[in-house]
Amino acid sequence: MGSTSYQRSIWIGDGNFDCGNVTNSNNIVNNLRVTNRNNTVNVNNKIIADANPEIMQWLSPLNPRRRHQDVRTDRLDGVGNWLLETNEFREWRSREGGAEKAVLFCCGDPGVGKTYLT
């Protein structure tokens, strides 16, 4: 099988995500966005074709992607951006902190917007 090229800013999945210009919406591979230096994503079609719904069900009946899409839909632009500017987030994201900073825990009371930060 050859590979299919996608432009950057494309979710690879079943097309439920509205994140870019999907040029091939064959499905099953879930929730991955890959980028590289050239902002191009290459997906091996064999991976997509072989992803078996039975295997997916065997691994887990849970489907967190649906919930994620609901959260994305409800989230307002700009809300929670402050988190991305914190030193903690930057250290966690950049991997500079090494294994000691591999976990970032956002702790807050009910209703402060933790889910929308995700």
Partner: protein, 203 residues
């Protein structure tokens, strides 16, 4: 945060898996199924998928299709993570994970991190699970989340824009809503932070 990871320029591939714990789904959200749901999202490379397919075929031959146990699932996830350049695992609302599954989930994540220095884990939860989380990972970063005035403004403006009867709203009332509500919420947050909670007593 996930959108930010996706949109940021990046020199190598990243794989993102997320999970949202939910009170209403506590019966179904066992540790094994949560770890399995994370693994499902990482079947993005041929070698990862082949590895899982092999395990599936083997399980299917045994006793008409044997289910997976947590150690098997964690082992498969560890192997999947090792095959990927960098993995981000995001789990929301750990306080909504049943206590009997929470420690198993945290232990599983710790197990994965022990073998994969490039994996990053993002967790959210209420203060009552902070002790379990900080106890499980010892090192890590904690960010206290409070309602920010800026975020409240964005929310209120969005709601006001959707007002089905905008002509009924005077300019003065609109200004009051945008001024008073953020002030009151800030006061509530400030006063709440001065009341010792059980979580604070633990420390």
């Amino acid at each position: 945060m996930i959108d930010d990871l996706c949109d940021a320029p990046c020199e190598e591939e990243i794989a993102i898996a997320m999970f949202y714990c939910d009170f209403s789904g506590q019966q179904e959200q066992t540790t094994t199924d949560i770890v399995g749901a994370i693994l499902k999202q990482l079947l993005v490379r041929g070698e990862v998928l082949e590895h899982v397919q092999k395990a599936y075929r083997k399980a299917k031959r045994e006793v008409g299709g044997r289910g997976l146990r947590l150690p098997d699932m964690v082992q498969m996830l560890k192997q999947a993570v090792a095959m990927l350049p960098q993995v981000f695992i995001c789990i929301d609302a750990l306080d909504e994970c049943p206590p009997k599954h929470l420690l198993g989930l945290l232990r599983s994540i710790k197990d994965i991190l022990r073998e994969s220095l490039k994996t990053r884990v993002f967790l959210t939860g209420r203060p009552q699970v902070e002790a379990e989380i900080t106890g499980s990972f010892i090192t890590g970063l904690t960010v206290p989340i409070v309602s920010k005035t800026h975020d409240i403004h964005i929310y209120l403006e969005s709601k006001l824009e959707m007002d089905p009867e905008p002509m009924a709203m005077s300019v003065g009332l609109r200004a009051d809503i945008l001024r008073i509500i953020p002030e009151r919420i800030s006061e509530m947050c400030a006063s709440a932070s001065t009341v010792p909670t059980p979580c604070m007593i633990l420390y």
